[in-house]
Amino acid sequence: MKLAIASGKGGTGKTTVALCLALSADGPVRLLDCDVEEPNCHLFLKPEIRHREPVMLPVPVVDAAKCDGCGKCRQLCQFNAIAVLKGKAVVFPELCHSCGGCVKVCPTHAIREVECEIGFVEQGTSNGVEFVTGSLNVGQPLAPAIIRAVKRHANGDGLTILDCPPGTACAMVASVRDADHVLLVTEPTPFGLHDLKLAVDTVRELKRSFSVVINRADIGDNRVLDYCRAENIPVRLQIPEGRRIAEAYSRGEPVLAAAPELQEKFRQLLAEVTG
């Protein structure tokens, strides 16, 4: 079972919910931090890292001696990562999406690929949670490649919780596209509601089962609840705004320690969405 914790708007509490769920699970659980641009789970879980592997992306290199400047590679490349200058193909690696097409179409076999490191994946454990996190190197654009590498560590039959990046674009889609259920975390404000609707459109487009968690439930207004009611979207949990929770979070302390009354609610939530 893959349970993805997502949102349209950032900063609504995805990481908090993902951590609380992982720490409330009764059986074995694996937590994947898929927010590889700004991974945060490790700051709270403080896991012991057992294994670290680089994520490599193959990028083409042209052997100028073999290149006859025919331009087939440039024609194929959809990302303008190859130009032909003075009769030779030239690669712009920062634009390359690593599809491998240029290597395959080159008639003179002048292109080979070299592995280029764009980030890393780490594995560890903490408090009985098996933990996997990915990190995109600063300056690299292709978050989905790291997300795919993180997701290869999903626990086949057991429970896997994915803390996803915000938004509704490639990175979020790469994280939630094969989830069995998506929990959308929002807050009851106009921004929260607007971005929740975008996230709902996205998970509907991806044909995922989903429901909603409202964080800081006592700020803002009632429009998120009204919307969920009108759309028949289950609201699984409402977490109150609390200085205790905010302060614990700010220090990187587990929210469940500051608000132990939430543990039972998270356990119930987990039972509902996995049952």
Binding site: G11, L43, G101, V138, P166
Partner: protein
């Protein structure tokens, strides 16, 4: 002309609330919402849309089942797990492309022995040129699960710059996306300055360090402001020291103030809605920043 990009790394730290207040405070500016997949600035600026443009970008592969030989070459060549096989490869397998995973690279289209894969243009969203009571706004809406958000960001910024040049505006305020990946890189390249809005939490601190690294890498000077600073004063101090050490300029703090949420519920910039502590500090922040920019 100056272009100020508001970033944060971590989401939900108050980028849009600050950007909306800057819109109310700036005298001669153009505004751009570069958070194209979760754009919120329009909820406060209430733009009147003047021109709508379709955003077509890239292509997506579609297999024509009638011509497909069921050979599986597309599956073998795709590096993005976008080809779905139902049934057995040697028997009655059918192959389809999952549009949510298709990168639009065209490799399967090129290498299909039966030329059975079409490659139509992809509709990725819309972008708008609008008028607000504070000045022109360029904004966008990425299609749900849309691709190419970075290119849409570039489109929005290019148009904002064109308008600023035509109308002789001296500033572009860009409300940026969270993270540090493709859309953020598209927001930062060539800008005059980054304002990083963060919060005094371990995640705010961690993510901010990556934003500074990114800004430095693209040669853009960075300013920083800690929002809700009084949630954790010690952490605020630490973040400001780290910011200074990273070469960024600390330009202000914003205290926790319910008026920020109330202003949003009311659809107004904080500085217009309230005269309270957050509004006052945002005003000072703006004045400080404007002096540093020009």
């Amino acid at each position: 002309m100056k272009e100020l990009v508001i970033l944060s790394g971590k989401g939900g730290t108050g980028k849009t609330s600050v950007a909306a207040s800057f819109a109310a405070l700036a005298r001669n500016a153009v505004f751009a919402d570069a958070d194209v997949d979760a754009a919120d600035l329009h909820l406060v600026l209430h733009p009147e849309i003047q021109v709508r443009h379709k955003f077509r970008s890239g292509h997506e592969a579609v297999i024509r089942q009638a011509d497909c030989l069921r050979c599986g070459a597309c599956l073998a060549h795709c590096r993005f797990d976008a080809v779905r096989m139902d049934g057995k490869e040697d028997g009655e397998a059918t192959f389809t492309i999952d549009p949510s995973a298709c990168e639009g690279c065209g490799v399967c289209v090129e290498l299909c022995p039966a030329e059975a894969i079409d490659f139509p243009e992809r509709m990725c969203g819309e972008w708008f040129v609008s008028q607000t009571r504070f000045g022109p706004l360029v904004h966008a809406r990425l299609r749900p699960a849309g691709e190419n958000s970075g290119k849409l960001v570039t489109q929005v910024r290019t148009e904002a710059r064109r308008i600023a040049e035509r109308k002789a505006r001296n500033l572009i305020v860009v409300d940026g996306p969270p993270g540090i990946g493709c859309p953020v890189i598209a927001s930062v390249t060539g800008a005059s300055a980054v304002l990083a809005v963060t919060e005094p939490t371990v995640s705010g601190e961690h993510d901010l360090a990556r934003v500074f690294k990114l800004a430095r890498r693209f040669g853009v000077p960075a300013f920083v402001c800690v929002n809700k600073w009084d949630i954790n004063p010690a952490m605020t101090e630490r973040i400001e020291q780290q910011a200074a050490a990273a070469g960024a300029t600390v330009v202000g703090r914003i205290p926790y103030d319910r008026a920020v949420t109330d202003a949003q519920v009311n659809g107004q910039p904080v500085v217009e809605f309230s005269k309270g502590p957050a509004a006052q500090h945002i005003q000072q922040l703006w004045e400080h920043l404007w002096k540093s920019l020009v």
